[in-house]
Structure formats: structure tokens, C-alpha cells
């Protein structure tokens, strides 16, 4: 009994006011503006050289700073200097290594050089690695450690060009296992040789080994040499892979025994960004704190036209960042997250499809707007189309559905028409997406709007809008393809196609049923083969799959990053590339090679249109859809603008902590009466029983 009292007493102490019994947070410092967010999957590696997932990026992007970033407010996406002083100076050289100047044709270029100058006076975050003694710990000292915060002494130093070069060397080091190493080998001069050279050396020795293509020019200037012309390289320089890394980090973390305590670069980054990782407990929470050493950066004063109306320019010119702390909490399920968001314990939220029509409704004109209950709570909505595409791929090596033959092409086209992605979007995505007309999403160079951008093989232009061709057209195509009303002449039964998918779980059955119905419209029997992710990958790799759906998230906002998914020499089966459908068309390949090294000119746009036309004609993909992101955020949360490129938004965000506290209190009044009622009821039931028992025991005594 005493224990129970103790627990109750403690409970009362820990939550003095009864209004927020359900508050999941214990620290309540009203003076700090803390942003509450969540992570659903524990980040596996927070090393900028190896991390390549969006979930990890949302942490890394706040901690590390590559030379460039995308403008927060401007669209289409634009590069701007971050830790660099200005955009890179690019020089071109011919095969004889002579600097090209004036007018010269692109095919003369053998090398390009990017010269990057960085800002002076930037400092790293405080970190024990910068103290000499900490890099030579005795095993006794290491034995005593449990976490990085156990180090009392922490230091810093100025950021220099050497640190950027060091990071590129790390990318090349086979022991680091950077996912882009193989890719960069094709471009950066001397990258492959360097990999070979340091293969058997210790990690720290890369500092003294030179990499011929990447050199330090001065304390604040360095140079990267690229084979040929590769205009997209500047976008890579805005990714975390090219963020600076101090050599001290390697020397510190490679000390024996630290890894066993999970003290490694994967878990405790060293960056120059606006935040540093204060607590990394992937089992429970991750805390980012404002970096006191952060260099002076200010809120942008220019943006899109609508940004001013939306109040996104209110903070123009103020020093960044605004938020003192970000607490990410492990939250695996969407339901608790959503409920907590509505209770005010999370500041922003996406919308799961299950709670969608609770939050959003479409007006008569088709615009999304918040429901009344949401508006009453002061919640705001932001929508934006992502730079990604989800498509259905046909394996072009397959004898039935693939290949260049006209029959197979017509079959694919018939399926393209029959698959009503408008319905898909409205059923499974609650209208959060737009049907794709080609390979490119909106906001990517070369994508055309309205009628010019229509896929005329699948759509008609009617009433100033896209209209899917009728199912009769698809049936006619089926007949032309040799499958009259879906009957396979070889078997005399319905044509059987195979659909490989990795989706399992609650929503999958409905989706699979939907796919089956779509194929049934033109008489095809679709067999669905759900597999786990590995088997699925195997099938794609050896080309034994037939139909599958896949998506692509852009690495950088350039058409090249989408068209290379269909480039012949990227074929999955033959060349282990990213062309999962193994599409091969020499005309397309030739156009691609031409397009990729061009700057964004009218001519490039024309080539892109030709490429779109080829793909629409050949139908290796059913262009699915481009998802639209809907984000909700509370009234106290300011300066949100969704960005699909680098996720550096955290430093721009602002939170009104006092207003939040008020609302939370208002929204979270605990309801006690049912508990009391249940207790009373229980006692009422018990009383007659006890009476009866007393009577009976009296009887037995008598």
C-alpha cells in the first residue's frame, strides 16, 4: 500500500497541474523554444560520407554544412552559397590540359575544374576531438566512458579548405564504404587510384596521401577536377557527402574501445551547422541543440511572390537559427503521433490517409482546405508537389510484355490507358498527388505545363484539362496487340501477367485488388506475387520480374537525374545500373548523352521534349503519379516552407513557446468523472455481496 501511495504522490509531484496529465514531456523550460518532432526509424549512420537516406538526412542536414545549399524560399530550386563564399568558379580544359576560353563546343571539354572558396572564421561545434589529449586516451580512460558527454574538455577550431578535401578522401576510402564512391570514381580525377592506394592503409593515413584531382589551393580555397563536363556536379556539392570533416574526428574515433561504447562518427557527428547533436539515444530520443559557434547567417529577404502574403518574410534579415533545441522522439506508429499532434504535443504533422478527411476537404473547385475543426484549432495547411515520381515499370527483357515489338508496345500502352491513376490517387492517396504525364515532375527544368506537357498517347485534352482515353481505346489496342478481349491465343484463356510487390500489411490488400480490377478491365488476369524486399531486388537484378511499381526521389533538381533511370547503359541486368526496366533505345541514349552535359537552355528543353516523346511512345513505364505533400502545423509554428531538396529548413523555423503552452493547457483537461463513476459502480455491486456474505457467515456460526 505504501508503494501505491508513493507512486501516486510522485505522480502528483511530477505533474503539479492536473490540466496536462497526458503531457509526454518532462522538461518544461518556458524560456527555451523547443521544437518537438519524431523519428520512426532509428538512424543507422550519421556519417555524411555514408548516409543516404532521407530520414538520416533530416538530422545530418542540420549538423553538417556542405559548401552550397538550395535557397529556402525561391522556386524553382536554386543553389546558393552556404559555407562557401560564392558559387563555384568552373574552368574547362581540353584533352591537352589547356584552359578553354571564349566560345568552344562542349565536346572539346576533357576536364572541368571547380574552384570553391569558403567563408573565413567559421568554427566547428565544440567537440572533445579537438583537444589533443582526448585523441590519445589510455585504455583505462576509455573503460570509464559511457557516452560522449562524459568528456569534460571540449574544443573547436576554424574551418579550413583542408577539411573539405579530407572528406572527399574519406568518400574514396573503401573502408568508409560511401554509397557514392563507385559513382564518383567515374567523375573525380584520381578518385579510383586513391581508393586503391589507401585500401590497406589505416583510416587516419588518408590525411597524408594526396588525391590528385582534389587539392587545397589556400587556407580557404580548394579545387576539384572532374572528367569531362558534368554540370550536375554542383548539385552534389550541396549534399552532405561534400560537407567538411576535420581529420581530428577520425583520429579521435578510431581509438580502440570507443566503438564498443557506440561512440563513433556514425553516432556523434562533428559539424559546423546551426545545431549539434547533444543527445543520441536512438532507442528513445535524439536531441539537437543550437550551436553557439554557428557562423552568422540571416533569414532571406527574397522569395516567391506568394511568400510575403503567407508571412514567410516577416523574419527577413534576422539572425539564424531561432530555435534553441529540437527533441526528436521515437514514434513508430502514426496514430499516437496524430493524436499527440492534435493535443498540441507535436508542432507539425503530415496526414496519414486514415485521418485525411478529418483534416482536409476539397472545395468545389478541387482545392484542398482544412476542415472547420482544424481551423478552429488554428492549424494551418501547406501543400507542395514533391520532386519524385512513382511509376509502374515493365521489364523490357520479358518475352511477353517487354521488347521492341509493336505487339508488346500496344499491350503496354493498353495497360497504360486502363490503369486509372486518377482513381488510384483519389482512393489511396486522398487526392494527394497529380498523375504524371512524363518522366519529369513539375518544378524540374524541361517539364511543360498544361496541353504542351500532355501524354497524348494516354490522354486527350478536353475542357481545358487532361482526360484519360476511354477503355474502348485500350481494348482496341489489345486487339491490335493480338489479345482480343484479353484472351491469350496460346492458351485460349485470359492473358496472365505477374505483378511483383513488396507491399504487405493492412492497406496492401485493397491496393492489390484495385490493380487486379484495373487489369481485368481489359481482360488481363493479374497475378500478384508479394515478396520480401530482398527477393524483390533479386528479381529486378536478374530481370525475372514482369511488372512492378517503383519510385524515384530526385537527388538534385535536374532532368538528368530522372532520365538516367531509362538510359540504356544503366540497365539493371546487364550493367547493374539504375535502369530497372532495362529499357534500351539508341536514339534516346544518344539524346540523353547530349542533354546531360548541357546548361539549361531552350535547346536543352527541346531535346528533353524529344526524349519525353520517345518514352511516351515506347511505354517502358506507366507514368504513375507525383505525390503531393500535405503538412499541418500549429498556429505557434512559423516560417514553414516545404523543401524537397536539401533539408536545411530547421534553422529558419520559429516557435512561439508561450502561445503553445497556453493552447496545450486549454486542450488537455483531463476527464475524471468516468473513473469515479466506475469506482462507485464497483462499490455498489460489492455492497450486496458483502451483506449476503455476512448473513451467511452469521448463519454458519449459529
Amino acid at each position: 500500500m505504501r508503494i501505491v501511495f508513493l507512486i501516486i504522490f510522485n505522480l502528483l509531484l511530477s505533474s503539479c497541474d492536473l490540466s496536462q496529465l497526458n503531457n509526454p514531456y518532462s522538461e518544461a523550460d518556458p524560456n527555451l523554444s523547443i521544437l518537438y518532432s519524431s523519428f520512426s526509424e532509428r538512424p543507422k549512420r550519421l556519417d555524411p560520407a555514408t548516409s543516404y537516406s532521407t530520414s538520416e538526412n533530416s538530422f545530418l542536414a542540420q549538423i553538417y554544412e556542405p559548401p552550397y545549399q538550395y535557397s529556402y524560399l525561391k522556386r524553382p530550386y536554386q543553389l546558393e552559397p552556404l559555407s562557401a563564399k560564392k558559387l563555384p568558379v568552373i574552368n574547362y580544359f581540353n584533352a591537352q590540359d589547356v584552359l578553354l576560353s571564349g566560345n568552344f563546343s562542349a565536346n572539346k571539354i576533357a576536364y572541368s575544374e571547380y574552384i570553391i572558396e569558403i567563408k573565413q572564421g567559421i568554427k566547428f561545434q565544440l567537440h572533445p576531438a579537438f583537444i589533443e589529449a582526448n585523441r590519445h586516451l589510455s585504455s583505462d580512460q576509455i573503460e570509464k566512458l559511457t557516452q560522449l558527454n562524459d568528456f569534460t574538455e571540449q574544443g573547436t577550431r576554424e574551418l579550413i579548405a583542408e577539411d573539405y578535401v579530407y572528406q572527399i578522401k574519406r568518400l574514396a576510402d573503401p573502408k568508409v564504404q560511401s554509397p557514392i564512391a563507385e559513382f564518383m570514381k567515374e567523375y573525380i580525377v584520381g578518385f579510383g587510384e586513391f581508393s586503391q592506394e589507401v585500401k590497406d592503409k589505416k583510416k587516419i593515413e588518408i590525411k597524408s596521401t594526396p588525391l590528385s584531382g582534389v587539392t587545397v589551393l589556400s587556407r580557404y580555397k580548394y579545387k576539384i577536377r572532374i572528367k569531362g563536363k558534368y554540370p550536375q556536379f554542383k548539385f552534389w556539392l550541396a549534399m552532405n557527402f561534400f560537407a567538411p570533416m576535420p581529420w581530428e574526428a577520425n583520429e579521435f574515433y578510431q581509438q580502440k574501445g570507443l566503438g564498443d561504447k557506440n561512440i563513433s562518427l556514425n553516432w556523434y557527428p562533428i559539424g559546423t551547422g546551426p545545431f549539434f547533436l547533444e543527445e543520441n539515444n536512438p532507442n528513445q530520443r535524439i536531441v539537437l541543440t543550437k550551436n553557439p559557434n554557428y557562423h552568422e547567417t540571416f533569414y532571406p529577404s527574397e522569395g516567391e511572390q506568394v511568400d510575403k502574403e503567407k508571412g514567410l518574410l516577416k523574419d527577413a534579415g534576422r539572425k539564424l537559427p531561432f530555435i534553441d533545441k529540437v527533441i526528436y522522439i521515437l514514434e513508430k506508429e502514426t496514430i499516437p503521433y496524430w493524436s499527440k499532434f492534435l493535443q498540441g504535443f507535436y508542432d507539425a504533422s503530415g496526414i496519414s490517409s486514415d485521418s485525411f478527411d478529418q483534416a482536409v476537404q476539397f472545395s468545389a473547385s478541387g482545392n484542398a482546405q482544412l476542415t472547420e475543426t482544424m481551423q478552429d484549432q488554428g492549424i494551418r495547411l501547406q501543400t507542395s508537389i514533391s520532386t519524385s515520381i512513382f511509376y509502374m515499370g515493365f521489364n523490357m527483357l520479358d518475352p511477353v510484355i517487354g521488347g521492341d515489338s509493336e505487339h508488346a508496345r500496344k499491350l503496354r500502352l493498353a495497360i497504360s490507358i486502363a490503369l486509372d491513376y486518377e482513381e488510384y490517387i483519389s482512393i489511396f492517396m486522398n487526392g494527394r498527388g497529380i498523375p504524371a504525364q512524363g518522366v519529369l515532375p513539375p518544378e524540374i527544368f524541361g517539364n511543360l505545363e498544361k496541353k504542351e506537357g500532355m501524354n497524348q498517347y494516354v490522354y486527350n485534352w478536353k475542357n481545358n484539362n487532361y482526360q484519360r482515353k476511354s477503355i474502348e481505346k485500350a481494348e482496341q489496342l489489345m486487339t491490335e496487340a493480338g489479345y482480343k478481349s484479353g484472351v491469350d491465343p496460346k492458351t485460349g484463356e485470359a492473358l496472365v501477367l505477374y505483378f511483383d510487390t513488396t507491399s504487405v500489411g493492412a492497406g496492401a490488400r485493397a491496393m492489390m485488388n484495385w490493380y487486379r480490377k484495373q487489369f481485368e478491365k481489359i481482360g488481363i488476369k493479374l497475378v500478384i506475387r508479394p515478396t520480401d524486399y530482398n527477393r524483390f531486388q533479386d528479381k529486378i537484378r536478374d530481370g525475372s520480374g514482369q511488372i512492378f511499381t517503383w519510385g524515384w526521389n530526385a537527388d538534385y533538381p535536374d532532368p538528368e537525374n530522372f532520365f538516367f533511370l531509362l538510359y540504356g547503359p544503366n540497365g539493371k541486368v546487364k550493367f547493374k545500373g539504375e535502369n530497372a526496366v532495362n529499357y534500351q533505345n539508341s536514339k534516346f541514349d544518344q539524346l540523353f548523352e547530349q542533354m546531360r552535359s548541357m546548361d539549361d537552355t531552350e535547346q536543352r528543353s527541346q531535346i528533353i521534349q524529344q526524349m519525353q516523346e520517345i518514352i511516351r511512345h515506347d511505354v517502358p513505364w506507366v507514368f504513375g503519379y507525383h505525390p503531393k505533400r500535405f503538412a499541418l502545423y500549429h498556429q505557434w509554428f512559423e516560417n514553414i516552407k516545404p523543401s524537397f531538396m536539401a533539408h536545411k529548413e530547421l534553422k529558419y523555423l520559429r516557435i512561439d513557446a508561450t502561445s503553445r503552452e497556453q493552447k496545450r493547457e486549454q486542450w488537455n483537461q483531463a476527464v475524471f468523472w468516468p473513473l469515479i463513476a466506475a469506482l462507485v459502480l464497483f462499490i455498489l455491486v460489492l455492497i450486496p455481496a458483502i451483506n449476503a456474505f455476512k448473513k451467511r457467515s452469521r448463519k454458519t456460526v449459529q
Binding site: 518532462s26 573503401p174 557514392i180 566503438g259 536512438p282 506508429e333 499516437p336 455481496a689
Partner: protein, 325 residues
């Protein structure tokens, strides 16, 4: 006694070996090291070289069970099986495929698991015993009949309904506790109340019924009749004699599960996002992190065997007639 324990521990070795081989085979039949590498490396730009590198770094580039190319005395040892098993027996679980030290993680996640499982067990035991005692006390009355019916009804409801319902009513509608999450120290209490209440309620049905039969068996024995004949009241009989004697099977039953409490509850933990060992296991299965799964299987069997030994010992303590041999 000590001799007995020593023998049991020796006997545990082949058991653990069997468990180890079984879990190894089960997971490698479906998962080749290549699969594991790809799983960990992510989706974009994964080359054959990267896969090889990963395998080399994590020690998966050896043959599975038998190394033909190694020199004679290394044919067994230069294999994935040997390399990955030897650490387990020393309770050094090594590094997970995603790069974290497993022992550290287990040490950390054990506490949340325990802080749900232990109170659930104790409170559940108290509640079940008192309900069962009440049923015996009020036997042959409407109260007993309705309690039995209630128990069967409670038993027939899937635990998922309890969790979903509890979260919905207590967390969302009444706002009495946070819906999910966890915190360290005393502030964890508010997160733990709901899961504990739910697991106690969902266990009442079967638990109370089981204890009731135990008590009833005891009530019908001769010594109880004698006690009653001595003039003891019904309550005295129940508490002094029946409860005391029935505690022996109850307690020994509890001892078996005690060590397994460390493993946590799979469903509870993932519903309430409590960072315990149960959700750790589920995550590992879902992300196919073989190193963690094997470590957890091994730990589970060690604890199970430990529980068996504890039970035997507890028998000797409560009942002096039992001798271990």
C-alpha cells in the same frame, strides 16, 4: 545443491548449441549475406563492390558452415557460424548489422522492458489472487457466477482490443495519460500506467480462473474441514490455510517466467512505443538485422533455462520433501 546446479548448467550447453544452430540455419536459409548487405546499404547506387566491402567488414565473407579452402584445423573456425557463435557463449553479442554494439543496447533497453513487465506481473498477481479469493469466498452466490461469466468473457477478447480500446478511451478521450512514449526515471510512471493496467485487465480472465481452481482444490481438502470444525470463520480459513498452501504452486509458476520478463512484451512495447527489448526484437525482425535476432534468441534461451533451474530450486525451498538429485 551446488553440484546439481553445476550439472544443470553443463546440461544447458548442448541446449544452447542446438538453439544456436537452429536459429542460424533458419535465418540463413532465407537470407544470404548478400541480402543482408543490400538491406543495410539502402537503395540508391548499391554496387557489387559495395556489397563485397560490407560483407568483408562485417565478417560475412566466409563460408557458412564449412570452409574447404582453409587449412585443416581452421576448416571449422574460419566460417560465419563459428565466428558469430563463439561470442554468444561469452555473452558478448558483438556489433549489430547496422553498426551498434548490441550488448550496450540490451543493457539500455532492458530497463523499460522490466519496468512494464515486473509491475504487470506483481499487480496482476495481486489482482488475480484477490479476485479468485473473492470468488471462493462468495462461492455459490450470484457474485461467483457472474464473476466466472465475466472471466470467460474477458478471456475471449483479443488482447489487441484491450490495447486499442485502452488507448482510445483513457488516452484520447479522457486525456488521463500520454498516449505513448517513454521517459527515464520517475517521469516514466505516467507512461507506464496504461500499459500495466491493460496487461493486468487482459490477464484477469485466465489468471483468476486458474487461481480459483487452485483454491477450490485446497478448500476441499481435509485439513480445511478440520480447521473449519475448530470454529475458524470462513475468512480465517481462507487466509490462514488455503492461501498459504495454494501459494506454493502459484509462486513456483511465477518463478519460471521471472527471467523471461527481461525479454519484454512484443505487442505492448510496440503499441506504446516503449524502447524495450520486445520492440527491439520486432524491429530487428522487420529490418532483418540477423545479429540482433540471434543475440535475442540466445538471450531468450539462456533466460528460459535459468528460469527452469530457479523453479527446481524454489521447489526445494518451499517444500523440504523435494530433493534435487
Amino acid at each position: 545443491m551446488i553440484k546439481y546446479i553445476l550439472r544443470r548448467i553443463l546440461y544447458a550447453l548442448p541446449l544452447l548449441m542446438g538453439v544456436n544452430i537452429l536459429s542460424f540455419i533458419l535465418f540463413f536459409v532465407v537470407n544470404s549475406p548478400d541480402d543482408m548487405a543490400r538491406m543495410q546499404l539502402g537503395q540508391k547506387h548499391v554496387t557489387e563492390q559495395a556489397v563485397q566491402n560490407w560483407k568483408h567488414q562485417h565478417g560475412y565473407d566466409l563460408p557458412l558452415l564449412w570452409n574447404d579452402r582453409a587449412s585443416s584445423n581452421k576448416k571449422m573456425t574460419e566460417t560465419i557460424f563459428y565466428q558469430k557463435s563463439i561470442g554468444l557463449f561469452l555473452l558478448d553479442f558483438g556489433v549489430s548489422d547496422s553498426g551498434r554494439n548490441i550488448s550496450e543496447d540490451i543493457k539500455q533497453r532492458m530497463w523499460p522492458s522490466l519496468s512494464i513487465a515486473l509491475p504487470s506481473l506483481i499487480v496482476g498477481l495481486l489482482v488475480n489472487i484477490s479476485v479468485a479469493l473473492m470468488m471462493v469466498l462468495f462461492r455459490n452466490s450470484y457474485l461467483e457466477f457472474s464473476s466466472i461469466v465475466l472471466c470467460v468473457i474477458l478471456m475471449s477478447i483479443s488482447s489487441l482490443f484491450y490495447i486499442i480500446g485502452g488507448q482510445f478511451f483513457i488516452g484520447k478521450l479522457l486525456k488521463l495519460v500520454p498516449i505513448s512514449g517513454y521517459d527515464t526515471g520517475f517521469s516514466a510512471i505516467k507512461f507506464l500506467i496504461l500499459p500495466i493496467v491493460i496487461s493486468v485487465i487482459s490477464g484477469i480472465g485466465s489468471g483468476a480462473r486458474w487461481y480459483r481452481t487452485l483454491f477450490l482444490e485446497e478448500v476441499e481438502k481435509d485439513y480445511v474441514r478440520t480447521a473449519r470444525a475448530k470454529g475458524l470463520t470462513e475468512t480465517q480459513v481462507l487466509f490462514k490455510h488455503v492461501l498459504k498452501n495454494a501459494m506454493i504452486p502459484i509462486l513456483t509458476g511465477v518463478v519460471v517466467v521471472l527471467p523471461l520478463l527481461f525479454m519484454g512484451s512484443l505487442i505492448m512495447e510496440s503499441f506504446f512505443s516503449i524502447p524495450g527489448l520486445g520492440s527491439y526484437t520486432i524491429d530487428a525482425i522487420n529490418s532483418q538485422d540477423f545479429a540482433i535476432v540471434r543475440a535475442m534468441v540466445f538471450l531468450g534461451s539462456v533466460l528460459y533455462i535459468f528460469g527452469l533451474i530457479l523453479t527446481d530450486i524454489s521447489y526445494t525451498i518451499v517444500d523440504p520433501r523435494v530433493r534435487l538429485s
